[in-house]
Structure formats: structure tokens, C-alpha cells
Amino acid sequence: MNWSAPLPGVVLVGTVLVAGAYVASVLDAGAARLVAGRPLRVGELVAGPWREAALLARIRRSTTERPDAQTWALAPALLAAMAGVAVATVPLAPGVAVADVDDGIVLFGAAMAVVMVGAFLHGWSSNSVFPLVGGYRFVALALSYEMPLALVLIAAALPAQSLSVGAIVESQQGLWNVVRQPLGLPLFLVAGMGLAFWGPLGMSDGADLAGGTGVEASGPDRLAWALARHFVLVAVAVMGAAVFLGGWQGPGLPGALWMAIKTLVLLAVVVGVGHRVARIRLERFVVVAWAVLIPLALVDVFASGALAL
């Protein structure tokens, strides 16, 4: 099938995002129960996201005084679209990619940079104090995520001698990048967690702001934002699986299944960390990002470059 045709492409990307978001929600609820020491009721876990979504769909939308209604509606759409662009660049099985373009990781990086715009607009639009503070928090942090993200992706591209995600997957035949470039995946996941404002890096939607950019959203708006945020997380996990865990490569099972398993593992790691690690202070994270993460990412680039020569 021609996956780069409009309809199959949209269906494929949409399916990956929705299925991934659902699995991430189930994993999240399961991890919460494990950490809280409550019984793990599989039936409830599996039905939970659907029930929650149904409830949010039933709750009325609310508005604020003089909101920026267009940008409020645009914000989750923008986030979801950027997650879609990111997933489109990744081959999900041999020959199954919507847009395995020559400069796939550049496109991915660009899409992730636009996430900042979505998060800021979401905070800005409701014309309320805490959401605005949340939006500015994301802007203050975005560069600290994007720099290490771009650098570790460049390092991963070096052995492949290509910026295409498909070529990077091929280049890991026999040796995955997670082993070849041990710094890459952890840095990528930290940055990815930040871009999905997840767990310890969820400052823009943190409990200290009573929900940050999402304080004023209700019902379907809240659902849209939660979905969009999960989509970004899924996009990060899919890209991580392709670039660092060998993508669809693996013995025995079909490529698509390997890809799903690897994505699931990364989602589980991120979700688990989210329940174990406290929210990080803004100021401290920026210092750590520029004094530790970015230098480490540079080391990753230089070491990978030296090895590739």
C-alpha cells in the first residue's frame, strides 16, 4: 500500500497516535496504582481512559472573560498536528512510513519546536493568571529541551550518514544506538518528557499552578488538551524507539510488532519516572540543562563523530 497517499497516511498516523495515547493512559493509571500500593484492577485500568474521555465529552465547555477563543481552540490542534508530523517521519515497519523524507530528524526537530507555540497559546488564550504563568514557563524551558534533543538526533544520524529516520533505523542493524551511543537515549527521553510537559518536567501544567495552562479548560477542551499532550509523548516514544532501539528490527516477530513493543517500553519508562520523580524547579532545570545536559549531548555528538570516522 502507498502509505504516503493522503488517506492511508492520515489513518495510519491517527491510529498510532490514538492507540499510543490510550496505551499511555492505561500505563499511567497502572503505574499510579502500583506506586500508590493500590490493587491493580485490570478491568478498570482498561476501561478507565474511555470512561474518562466520555465524562469529559459530557461536561460542558466553559469560557472566561474575554478569552482568545481562536487560539484556545488552535492550541491542542497544533500540538496534535505536530505530533502527527513527527510520527509521519518514522518507518513503523519495513517500507511502512508516511513520509520517510531525506531530512526526517530535522522535520521532527522542527515539529517539536512548534510544540512550544501550542503550549504558550494554551496558557495565553484563557486570559487568566495561572495559565499565563504556565505558558511562560514552557517558553522559558523550551530551548533547554530542544538543544539536547537536536544534538542527540544529530549524533544518531552520524553513523547512518543520513538525516532520514529510515536510514538511521537501517544503520542500527547488529548494533542499536542505545548501546553505540549510551548518552543518546537518556538525554532524548529527558528532552521528550519536557516537550510533553510530563512528570517532573510538567512545570507548565504543574500542581503548584493548580494545573497551569489547563486551569480554565473544561469538558471537551480539557479532553483535547490531554489527548494532544499524550500524542506528543507518543511521538517522542515512537521516534526514540526508531532512532535508539533499532526501530522495526528484531528477530522472529514482525517489524511492526517490534516497533510497538519498543515504543511501549519507552512509554512505560517515561510514565514510571513521572510517578517517581518530583517536579523539578524551573531555575534548577535550566542550569542543569545548560551546564550538564547540553555538554553531554555535545560529547555524544563528538564521540559519535569520531567513531563514524
Binding site: 499510579a32 460542558r60 493568571v129 504563568v133 500542581a207 489547563g214 518530583a278
Partner: protein, 485 residues
């Protein structure tokens, strides 16, 4: 639609609690109830649960919160939370019931009743609650300024009831916008009832003032609901076993730890600690010791709390906490503890736990260590009975007859402590002090309390520790700052 409603009716119930007098513990128990999810914003809630009695000062904020629930919505009232009776001077509650005739009154902790109201609401058998307030037409802009809004130029003034930003110096010597903002009394990251008037420069707090305590807003509002330190206060007139006191202390600190973990984005870990606190007994000593060690080593928590909200000896002396002891003082290196000289503890080998940094991290480790120590003392104390009347070391500091309660002094720390902090650090700092606005409210009637013996903890006077004022509080916006028109 039928299928959607059926699925929605089986979702976890999003609940926003409003904590009235005597309601804090029942409200915190909501976090542990299966099938219920406590949410941070009224916009995310379907049920508003009013726990305890409302004073008149809490009425208007409660109505504001109520009207921000998007609907379908319903309000539950848990009146007798913590033993307070409905007719116990609850003028605010009566007014609320008059304004919202469809409030459902149930027993505190009645999960089944709560779930039934939710199911009725989702299935359409119960209509969504009507607004408590009517839309207000604000007077037209007046005053100076080209737009007649009361400020200068494009800044300042209160057009349409919303304060505009003014220019003010920032810590770097620049002139920047400063937005006046009132946060509370139901801001979920703060102790219930705390109202702070702050100036926000970006997310930096400037010029912090503690608002009137809404738990005591009218001469008729007697905040005599049981405090979380009730057992310790009761030692004035009642003999208690040391073991009971120490288990209560450990439980108090674990509850605080649970709230703090939640504030740091660790809701699941908070739930585990909260459940431990609820069923705590002397046998849990190893569990609590392990927890204290783990929390002490936790790198994420360390990064979130170290260096934040430093309370030094000078600050302690300024507000008089150096006389109370308590975990805040001991975390700053001040080894005051009433148990040191308490004959009931003489054979237990008690020595106070002390940390020196005085920051939020030290207070976290202090309380975790004291919880473990308390259970160890309880284990050794056996049947030792403590006679009534002597000053007792409460979970926040020394409780002595005719002395102000520690929360008042702790509250007085806030303005200086929070000034110049980034919002997240300010929230961490407030949480780390373990404030109780009800205790602070009770303080003002302390003189009417029976005193069995004379002599304070260190014979000190009562000056310098009464920061809150009485009188009708100006009502203000509730946790979120916008009201749907």
C-alpha cells in the same frame, strides 16, 4: 448519547473540595477514596464537596468556586465532618443552603452517596446545579487616566472589578509590571483558608500580605471544630498515654508528608503515605523508618526543596517561634522540644532530632525523621501515662496554656519569607511550614480556654505572635482568578 453517558457515569468522579471549619481531615480522606479523583481546578470538577461548616467569610468564595464548575454539577455538604454539628454557629452554611437549595447533605466519607449523586447527575435524573451568584454589571470605568479606569495611563486601577498591573521595581533594578492578585482561600496547593495578597512580577512574588483568616470572620463564628492537633490540646485537661500522643504525632507528620508529596507532583506516592497515615499503629515503625530514609535520599525531592524558603534563627526570633520549638525551628538548628524536660519521657532516652539548613528540604527530613522517632518512642513508652496540664510538644511546637498556638507565629513568617520567590518555590515554602488556619483562628480565643497550670513553655510573653486580625473579611476571588460572566 446513551452509551456515552453510561461510560461517563462509571468514570472516576472529579471532585473539588471546599474545606470549612472542622473539615480538613475529611477533605483529605477524599484523596484515598476509590472511585473519586480530587481535582485542582473547579473547571475540572463535577461535584463540589463542602466539608465542615462555612463561616460567613467563606460563603462568597464558595459560591464563586461553585459557579466555576462547568456542569453538569452538584454540591454535597458533609456537615458533621470531624464532629462539628450542623447548627454550630454555621451562618455561612445556612446562607449557602439558602442560595443553593439543591445541596445534598450526606455523612462525611459517604462514598456511596457521593457516587449515587454523580450517577443521577450523569443520567439526567438530577438537574445540574443552578448558579449561586448573579452576573454583576460593574459600574463604568471612572477616575483618572485617559480611559477613566482609576489608574495612570494604561496601568493600574480596577476596571470592571479587576485590578490592573502597576509598575514596580524588580529585584534587578528594572521597572516592571506588577499584578496585584489575591489567592485563596481554596487554592489547592495551599492549606485551606490561607489567603495571600501578592504582587506578581511574572511569576515572582513581590509584597506578600496575609489576608484575614476566613475561619474566624465574625464574632459569632466560633471555630471550635476539632483541630488536627486535638489530642495534644486535650492534654491540658486529660491524662493520655505517651504512646497515643506519639502515634498521633507520627500520623500528623505523615499526613503532612502526603500533602507535600502531592504538591511536588507525586500524587501516587502521596496516596501511599496517606493510606499509611490513616491506618498507622506502633507496628508500622520499620515502614516509617524506611520511608524517612528513602525521602531523605530522594534526589528529585532534594532538588525541589534544598535552598528553598530558608528560615534562619533571626526570622524565628522575629516572629517568636524560637519559643515554640516545633519542626520548623528544629530544622533550623534550634533544639527546643518540650519533651526534653517532660517527666513522662524521662525514661525513654529522648533527644530532639535537629537539622541545620533551615530550608524546605531540612523541614521535610525533619518531619520524616520525627515521625519515625515518634513511633520508636511509642514502642518504648508502653503504658506510660502522661498527667494533664503540663505544656506538651505538639506537632507544630509547644502547646501551653494561655500561650498562642504555633500556627499564628508560623503564619507571621510568610510575608518576609515569600517576598522575591518564584511562584513554585513560594508554594513549596508555604507547604513546608505546615500551617493550619483553623489553629490560627482558634488562637484568638485562647484566653477563654481553661488553663490547668500556670507558666508558659519558657515563661515568655504572648507578644509578637498574633499576625491575623479579626473582623469581617473582604471576600475575594477563589482559587482561579476568573469568573464566567
Amino acid at each position: 448519547m446513551g452509551l456515552l453517558s453510561a461510560a461517563a457515569g462509571r468514570a472516576e468522579v472529579p471532585v473539588f473540595p471546599v474545606v470549612g471549619v472542622g473539615g480538613r481531615q475529611a477533605a483529605e480522606a477524599l484523596w484515598l477514596m476509590p472511585g473519586i479523583r480530587v481535582v485542582d481546578s473547579p473547571r475540572a470538577a463535577v461535584l463540589l464537596v463542602v466539608v465542615g461548616r462555612l463561616t460567613r467569610a467563606l460563603l462568597h468564595p464558595t459560591m464563586l468556586v461553585h459557579d466555576q464548575l462547568p456542569g453538569p454539577r452538584a454540591t454535597l455538604w458533609w456537615p458533621g465532618a470531624g464532629g462539628a454539628t450542623p447548627d454550630d454557629g454555621a451562618q455561612g452554611t445556612e446562607d449557602l443552603l439558602a442560595a443553593l437549595p439543591d445541596v445534598v447533605t450526606t455523612v462525611p466519607g459517604d462514598t456511596a452517596g457521593l457516587l449515587a449523586v454523580f450517577a443521577d447527575l450523569l443520567s439526567g435524573r438530577r438537574p445540574s446545579g443552578r448558579p449561586a451568584l448573579v452576573d454583576v454589571e460593574y459600574p463604568r470605568w471612572r477616575g483618572v487616566g485617559p480611559h477613566g479606569h482609576g489608574g495612570e495611563g494604561m496601568m493600574g486601577g480596577v476596571p470592571f472589578g479587576r485590578p490592573l498591573a502597576e509598575m514596580a521595581d524588580d529585584p534587578d533594578g528594572l521597572m516592571l509590571d506588577q499584578l496585584p492578585l489575591r489567592v485563596g482561600p481554596f487554592f489547592p496547593a495551599w492549606p485551606p483558608g490561607l489567603i495571600l495578597d501578592v504582587g506578581l512580577q511574572g511569576d515572582v512574588l513581590r509584597g506578600v500580605a496575609v489576608g484575614d483568616n476566613p475561619y474566624r470572620s465574625w464574632p459569632g463564628d466560633e471555630p471550635v471544630g476539632p483541630l488536627d492537633t486535638a489530642l495534644f490540646l486535650a492534654t491540658r485537661t486529660m491524662a493520655t498515654t505517651v504512646a497515643a500522643l506519639e502515634v498521633a504525632r507520627a500520623r500528623h507528620h505523615l499526613r503532612w508528608l502526603s500533602r507535600t508529596l502531592r504538591g511536588h507532583g507525586l500524587a501516587a506516592r502521596a496516596q501511599r503515605v496517606g493510606a499509611l497515615a490513616q491506618s498507622l499503629s506502633v507496628d508500622d515503625r520499620p515502614v516509617v523508618e524506611a520511608l524517612a530514609r528513602r525521602l531523605g535520599r530522594d534526589a528529585g525531592l532534594a532538588a525541589a526543596t534544598s535552598g528553598v524558603g530558608i528560615v534562619d534563627r533571626a526570622a524565628l526570633e522575629r516572629v517568636g517561634i524560637d519559643r515554640y520549638g516545633g519542626p520548623v525551628a528544629r530544622a533550623a538548628g534550634l533544639g527546643i522540644d518540650a519533651r526534653t524536660h517532660d517527666p513522662a519521657y524521662a525514661d525513654l532516652g529522648f533527644a530532639p532530632v535537629i537539622h541545620h539548613e533551615g530550608d524546605a528540604r531540612a523541614r521535610l527530613r525533619q518531619r520524616a525523621a520525627e515521625a519515625a522517632q515518634a513511633l520508636s518512642l511509642a514502642e518504648r513508652a508502653g503504658e506510660i501515662v502522661r498527667p494533664p496540664g503540663r505544656p506538651v510538644e505538639g506537632p507544630r511546637g509547644v502547646l501551653a496554656p494561655r500561650e498562642p498556638l504555633p500556627s499564628s507565629a508560623l503564619l507571621a513568617l510568610l510575608p518576609d519569607l515569600l517576598d522575591g520567590l518564584e511562584w513554585g518555590d513560594a508554594v513549596t515554602t508555604v507547604a513546608s511550614l505546615d500551617l493550619d488556619l483553623e489553629e490560627a483562628a482558634l488562637d484568638q480565643s485562647v484566653a477563654t480556654w481553661p488553663a490547668r497550670t500556670s507558666g508558659g513553655p519558657t515563661g515568655a510573653s504572648t507578644t509578637g505572635a498574633a499576625p491575623t486580625s479579626t473582623g469581617p473579611a473582604p471576600t475575594g476571588p477563589a482559587p482561579t482568578s476568573r469568573v464566567t460572566p
